[in-house]
């Protein structure tokens, strides 16, 4: 197996008395989709925030592309190719969909310290932005301010923005959050189309999406990893059933 692109070693984070993430280790290989599942409060979102650098861990280590990034700022990690989508859509609401994508395209090309050249004047970058919009099915809505798009469109744009920055690894925090069944299926199809082009660490509650996409699955409960392995193994794992899958089946 190749050297993992992203490696998380014994990561821990406490909030007061609560051990949000406790001694979590996992890795992500180039091109694979690694899903992290678990009941609410299992620490999945905290884990993503730790990997992205939005919060710093109490202990443990995060390595990305062979480099220790544990103490690096969010923007530095992003520039190294660590992209992310959020559970609650994070877009520039006043900017058009296209401008949101454009910001992402430009993020890793040169510096933002250009004062006189119009931002959308470089044809190659503009073409990349338009391609990203087409892929997200938003070509018709390119000039609509992001804040005025429907929830489903915003979720698509969130993914398009994250991808437009050409990340090597993508942290996906419940990409299907708040979507109806049809939209969820559409989102899963888009993610499936991305498979192999970018490594994905996927946090998702929709089990159909998870089992459709994941090459590996890690199960978390109360901040800890309780199981990890291939989807079939996880499906069969008694501990997982008890902690999680069973809970859903009962509900």
């Amino acid at each position: 197996m190749a050297e993992p692109l992203l490696q998380v070693e014994r990561l821990s984070k406490r909030f007061g008395a609560l051990a949000a993430v406790a001694d979590v280790s996992l890795d992500l290989v180039s091109g694979e989709c690694h899903a992290v599942i678990g009941p609410n409060g299992a620490g999945k979102t905290t884990l993503l925030a730790l990997i992205a650098g939005e919060i710093l861990p109490d202990a443990g280590r995060v390595a990305f592309a062979g480099e220790d990034v544990t103490r690096l700022k969010v923007s530095r990690r992003a520039l190294r190719g660590l992209g992310r989508t959020f559970q609650l859509t994070q877009l520039c609401a006043e900017f058009s969909a296209r401008r949101n994508v454009m910001l992402a395209v430009e993020a890793r090309v040169g510096t933002p310290f250009h004062f006189l050249r119009r931002a959308d004047s470089l044809a190659t970058l503009a073409a990349r932005a338009d391609a990203a919009l087409v892929m997200a099915g938003l070509a018709e809505r390119a000039h609509v301010p992001a804040g005025l798009l429907s929830h489903g469109e915003q979720r698509q744009l969130e993914l398009a923005v994250a991808m437009a920055a050409r990340p090597r690894a993508l942290l996906l925090d419940e990409p299907a959050a708040g979507l109806g069944p049809a939209e969820t299926a559409e989102m899963a199809a888009r993610l499936a189309a991305l498979k192999g082009r970018v490594a994905m660490l996927l946090v998702e509650h929709d089990m159909d999406t998870v089992f459709r996409l994941a090459d590996r699955i890690t199960v978390m409960a109360e901040g800890r990893v309780i199981a990890s392995g291939a989807p079939d193994t996880i499906r069969a794992d008694a501990a997982v059933r008890e902690a999680y899958l069973g809970e859903i089946a009962d509900a």
Partner: protein, 334 residues
């Protein structure tokens, strides 16, 4: 393919060009009408317009409510004033660590004013930009007050009484005496800044700054160095406010700590909001409107604050898009 400009942006360009035409014609028209004594007032309005537009970059585009821009305005004014003062007294402005003499050359004094104000903005920004929201407002206000006391502590510059300036700066060996030359300097500075700022707010830098106002988290996650972007904007904004201060010092022939006071900072914010934040031209219009209002009201009653206060309240509560938005019929901000 570019973003198509919305109609209010096109109307804005037309209005801005019309405004420029009026300002270019003003000295000639006023002279012809025997009203040339109004020019110094217009120069003052242009200078405050420059200061307000500079504040708009951080406030309107960056979403950073700086309550300390009076300090940058005043620092620019005091640097310009001190250079004149020391040139007149033939004493050095600074003995240590390097000796700096006074200067009557505008090409030295104006950049010096911008540089000093910019350096101060950099320092204040480096500390205050670590905080958000209400903290940022209070901290910029407090640091501006610190600058106020620092300037008061220099005995040579007259303390609360201020400093009378014996001369004006010279540009290419021509004195900026009389009302017209300084007016043109102010107008060129303002138009130059508006042109550049307008452009850079559509350039990568401007988009990054505006993006960070709308969604800081997203911008960070994309790899934008939000803190550095804001610090650069804050520094440039402070430097340009310093430039405005240098014009004010020359225009009045006098500098006083009043220029550094928290009231000045407050007025700059009012100009921005009254004119329309995030529009650059609006704050200039706001500066003209506020100064005109002050002038007219103070001629009617000494208690003009009692009129201005409620007017401002009404503006905040009911009139949210500002004068410029009214002129170009823009959709409300935010």
């Amino acid at each position: 393919m570019r973003e198509p400009a919305p109609p209010h942006v096109r109307r804005g360009w037309i209005a801005a060009q019309a405004g420029l035409a009026v300002l270019v014609a003003a000295p000639f028209v006023l002279t012809a009408l025997d009203r040339a004594w109004l020019l110094p007032t217009l120069t003052r309005m242009l200078a405050y317009g420059l200061g307000a537009a500079a504040l708009d970059v951080v406030l309107g585009y960056g979403g950073l409510v700086s309550f300390g821009h009076g300090a940058f305005l005043g620092t620019g004014a005091y640097v310009a004033g001190a250079l004149i003062h020391h040139a007149g007294a033939a004493t050095p402005l600074l003995r240590w660590p390097v000796e700096i003499d006074g200067s009557l050359d505008a090409l030295i004094a104006f950049p010096a004013a911008a540089l000093a104000a910019g350096a101060l903005a950099f320092l204040i920004g480096a500390v205050s930009l670590r905080t958000r929201g209400v903290h940022f407002i209070m901290i910029t206000l407090a640091f501006a007050q610190m600058v106020y006391f620092l300037v008061l502590a220099i005995p040579e510059y007259g303390g609360t009484d201020g400093l009378m300036l014996p001369a004006r700066h010279r540009l290419f060996d021509l004195p900026l005496d009389g009302d017209q030359p300084l007016y043109w300097v102010a107008l060129v500075l303002l138009v130059g800044f508006l042109t550049i700022a307008q452009r850079s707010m559509e350039a990568r830098f401007g988009l990054a700054l505006r993006g960070a106002r709308q969604n800081e988290r997203r911008m960070r996650a994309l790899g934008y160095p939000v803190f550095r972007i804001r610090l650069v904007a804050f520094t440039i904004s402070g430097a340009v406010a310093g430039l405005a201060g240098a014009v004010l010092a020359n225009q009045a022939g006098f500098v006083s700590p009043d220029l550094l006071s928290w009231q000045r900072s407050g007025e700059l914010i009012i100009m921005v909001i009254l004119g329309g934040q995030g529009t650059l031209f609006g704050p200039v219009l706001g500066a003209f409107a506020l100064l005109l209002l002050e002038e007219e009201l103070s001629a009617v009653t000494e208690h003009w604050m009692l009129v201005l206060g409620p007017l401002l309240l009404a503006c905040v509560l009911f009139f949210r898009r500002g004068l410029w938005g009214q002129v170009v019929r823009a959709p409300a901000h935010g």
